[in-house]
Symmetry: D2
Subunit: 341 residues, 4 copies
């Protein structure tokens, strides 16, 4: 069986495993106050060209989303997000469990636009019952989105402008950020994200690490006391150095970039093969998640050997499914799948 | 200026004001443990033909919704509701502030159907990521709905069946229940509600009282410790007898019914007049809220003398607005408005 | 039976009942946006000599406490309070239900001192694990306290200074404030409270009103969006004018002051009588709550005719109990009780 | 510098590092639904002799405490704990952030007794204002406690009895459980814990693993839907197998026991040395945390080479500090420290 159903089916890239072994018996202070975390943060700030930002390391994405959002919002405030956004759909109500409503906007290919955000804020402001409604105070987007699409720099610029105008925080979930940075046609860099957002994170779990997300905070109000929030929300790892060490490895020698390119190269290869063989996609994108539409017949033969993630039925006889590549995907695996198509 | 914009523009019906004056210097224990509350609960249980139910009195609707829902759900559970439901739209995220997601379903004329509920539960159950999603555990509906429409007994029966089948609580928000009970064509009685729901409430604030909602709880799990919840959520009135006294008056001599009929008679008169004059309605209903579609020109002349509640634009030149009658509406006011149409 | 067990055993003072009757059929906008609320706020601001403050009306004390505290704190912050404070003991965890820890300090005669607050903040700051502990961010005190004692102006001054120094909000629960203002020896006025606190409230429920607490907010950060919070926490009364009307009456012609003096005069009378007859008090104070220590034998004869609130056992044979006077207490009732002692 | 200040200064025991390396490129499903988690759970259930229990793996202790407690309590309920309990002192209010009050009881050498629990419940039940107070619904204890002491089987038996009698859940935080099981004089086994508690956990983070706590749930009400709670609280590790693999290693060939004995042997050696040299202890215990009382002078020389955790001042000139041993502590380090005393 070859697994393509997600980008977290393996452990970590070998360089990380080696470094963890090498540092295993070092004695360090706990809770992220060690030298590895300090150095990893420094490397990330350099990569982001944003020396005034602060970096914190958390274990996973849901934890990061709930901690950042809880840190930013007052009780009556909510977060605008795509209706397919991870916080809206796949976190068992973690944001609501912090007391905040997710204000879902209908997404177009996984994305929401500055104009949608502006209209939502305007509608709120102009409603005579505005105080009886949740106040929008943050925009949450994913880069790449849950559908593998990417915001362009121009789209992010506009979102930033509308956030400035409406007094909203802009928060980017980068659980798969590496694959976005490496994608063909992407024009959004780490320094762009640091410049345009109030807070974003660089996903490690899906991009080479055993686990870990590096939160990069620009806005001073969100920087303040963030470690208290991490602790309260259960995200402060006792052996915090495990996060520091992993991100040190990922941000030395451009490893994060290199392994992301590997995944994209294989995704592109697979994408081209699907196209050649006449398959269409539920959504077009250039990152590591592919959403081809496949006939039931074909799926039932594929699934004997290849694991994918079922999405939904398109019509009588066809479904959209997801195939992911990752830092760990082998060329042979992709070639075998292509032959099977 | 004559106000039709809501059904809570006046104080209370005279019988209540008299009784409050009469009992003003009685000394009673606080927090709803007085004789008036006891007797009011008894009268309500008789009207509901449901001696095993428990009655509690709260001050307002949002408070009641959040207390009931917080009492019923475990942290990972959410409440299914119409997308125009009061808890989804007009309570500043009070349900999310309790930690729970409102799982909004697209409403048809303000209502959701048993089949929608069933599909939502089935979709949850069958999703391979079900544990990453909020678990539906309660159905919240309003009778009448926010659009003044009514569930039929058959529709409620089906909702009850699907709730039994799926292990959901059924909760009916009766903020305007009196006007529903009195509406032409309504076939749902208080005993029906007590028989078919796990918990519902009888609105006083909009139906003759200064304030107050009488919660009627059937399900033993929701009866347990409910007073703790009322206190914690800030809803336990120190002089609880004020609630008891008001509901005593409303449920002696069928006053609740009589004043509701008054509002409905005037709403029917107004509805007929709108129709005669060729107006159409955004939504047809038989209760005390009317949603006529009116031209901008007409609205600008009406609003000099008559207050209504603006809803939304229908097309270039026309808007839907809301006119409410209530227990306090005067025949003369309605006749004057009709002449002005 | 004559009730002395609390100060909320009757309805409202007659002037309020008359005004409610008089205004009953006025039509007003809902949710506190009416002329009565506006005028009541104005009268209160005049009494407080604090024109830049904002006034909001809520229904009860627990609701007010939880709304103010939720409005002020970020998730990792807590509120310092006396270990006998209402929020710590008698609100079914309403503050914790907002997500915040009550940081209890051992009270001396119901009060906490500036020096205790300073030490708690210092201990927090200096603890190497400070980020693993709840950060103090607000001081909550009651004036009068739950034991009927009063902070002096000097004590409040010092609390204000330490709050400034440590970056804490100062919040005063004035559920029984009238009885404090009227007490012999009190040197803290409404203008003092407005000058020294960030937010405080003037209790109506226990001082002449049917219900209602007037929150006076000085700090701009707490003024912002407070009505959203009221709505979300279930405290926004649909017929908000009921609160406005009551506080209008209480703050016209010094009624709040007059009825408070009545209660204090009778409490003083009763206090003197207890002393004359050789009773001692669990705690000495000058407000409307008396905590005499009484023998079991005497209590068992008293309780046939006079209701008091049992506090706790002092020794084999004696208990502390509470007798309250209020705006509604009759001279005859006090005289009868004195005879019975 | 040699670190004794905590038991989480190193990575993981070599057997775990090897296994993680060995399995690194295995492809597995995510979120704990892999074969390693299944097998680790099986090994733990065997060790607990409790086949009907359910095992879940979480990343850290605070996360585990908040998830278990949120899963168990209704909104008005609280958890009884020692006033030095981790949830009361060192989790930044994580339990309150779930909405629940920690009902702190004064601990004796880190422990609370069945009789204290019984009295607290009785006091709650008999208070006329019981509904205005948080209802005790769970007992939380740590084994070993935060002071390194141990409950005896008899003490646990009594706690179980009072929990049965009062309808409370019994929850044991076993963050350092291995060191308790291995301690001299301990008479509480894993099967005892499974038999006597409703839920407990076996700490991995401080006992040989990189991270990870294995929750063992006996009570069916707590077993239900627990994975939803893990996800909502941010504790569901994408590469869940990392937890499974670590606990597999720890529970094969008694590794958990063996490495715990190692820490205890060295702690005993160090304890004896302190005693010989005339030091007394702030609290006597037999586990891996030592709390000697040391003069300022001695401390200032020790701290040049040996890291300990400062506790608090005992008198002018002496302080209590903490030295921990762990699975990773080297004999040479202990001998060097002993020479330095």
């Amino acid at each position: 069986m070859i697994y393509f159903q997600s980008d977290y089916t393996e452990g970590a890239c070998p360089q990380i495993m080696e470094r963890l072994a090498l540092t295993n018996l070092e004695q360090t202070p706990g809770y992220g106050e060690d030298e590895h975390c300090r150095r990893a943060a420094e490397l990330i700030l350099q990569a982001c060209e944003s020396p005034a930002s602060k970096v914190h390391f958390l274990v996973g994405g849901t934890q990061t989303n709930m901690t950042v959002i809880a840190s930013a919002l007052r009780p009556h405030q909510g977060v605008l997000a795509a209706d397919c956004g991870h916080i809206q759909v796949h976190e068992t109500g973690a944001i609501e469990a912090q007391g905040h409503k997710v204000l879902a906007l209908p997404a177009l290919e996984g994305k929401i636009s500055a104009s949608q955000v502006e209209k939502a804020c305007q509608a709120h402001r102009e409603d005579p019952s505005f105080e009886h409604m949740v106040q929008p105070a943050m925009v949450y987007i994913s880069q790449p989105t849950e559908l593998g699409t990417l915001y362009t720099k121009k789209e992010l610029d506009k979102l930033r402008q509308v956030c400035n105008q409406e007094g909203l925080y802009l928060f980017v979930d980068g659980a798969r950020l590496g694959y976005g940075l490496a994608a063909e046609g992407n024009d959004v860099s780490l320094p762009d994200l640091a410049r345009l957002t109030d807070v974003f994170y660089i996903g490690g779990t899906k991009v080479g690490a055993l686990f870990g997300e590096a939160v990069v905070i620009q806005h001073p109000a969100l920087q303040k006391d963030f470690r208290y929030l991490i602790k309260q929300k259960g995200g402060m790892l006792a052996k915090g150095r495990l996060l520091g060490i992993q991100f040190e490895v990922l941000f030395e020698d451009n490893l994060y970039e290199k392994i992301s390119y590997h995944a994209i190269r294989l995704a592109d290869r697979l994408r081209a093969a699907f196209r050649e063989k006449g398959y269409s996609f539920f959504v077009e994108n250039t990152t590591n998640q592919l959403f081809p539409i496949i006939s039931d017949e074909k799926l039932s033969s594929l699934k004997e050997k290849y694991a994918y993630s079922y999405q939904f039925r398109i019509d009588e006889g066809h479904s959209a499914v997801r195939f992911c590549t990752s830092w760990a995907t082998k060329d042979e695996a992709v070639e075998a799948l292509i032959r099977a198509l």
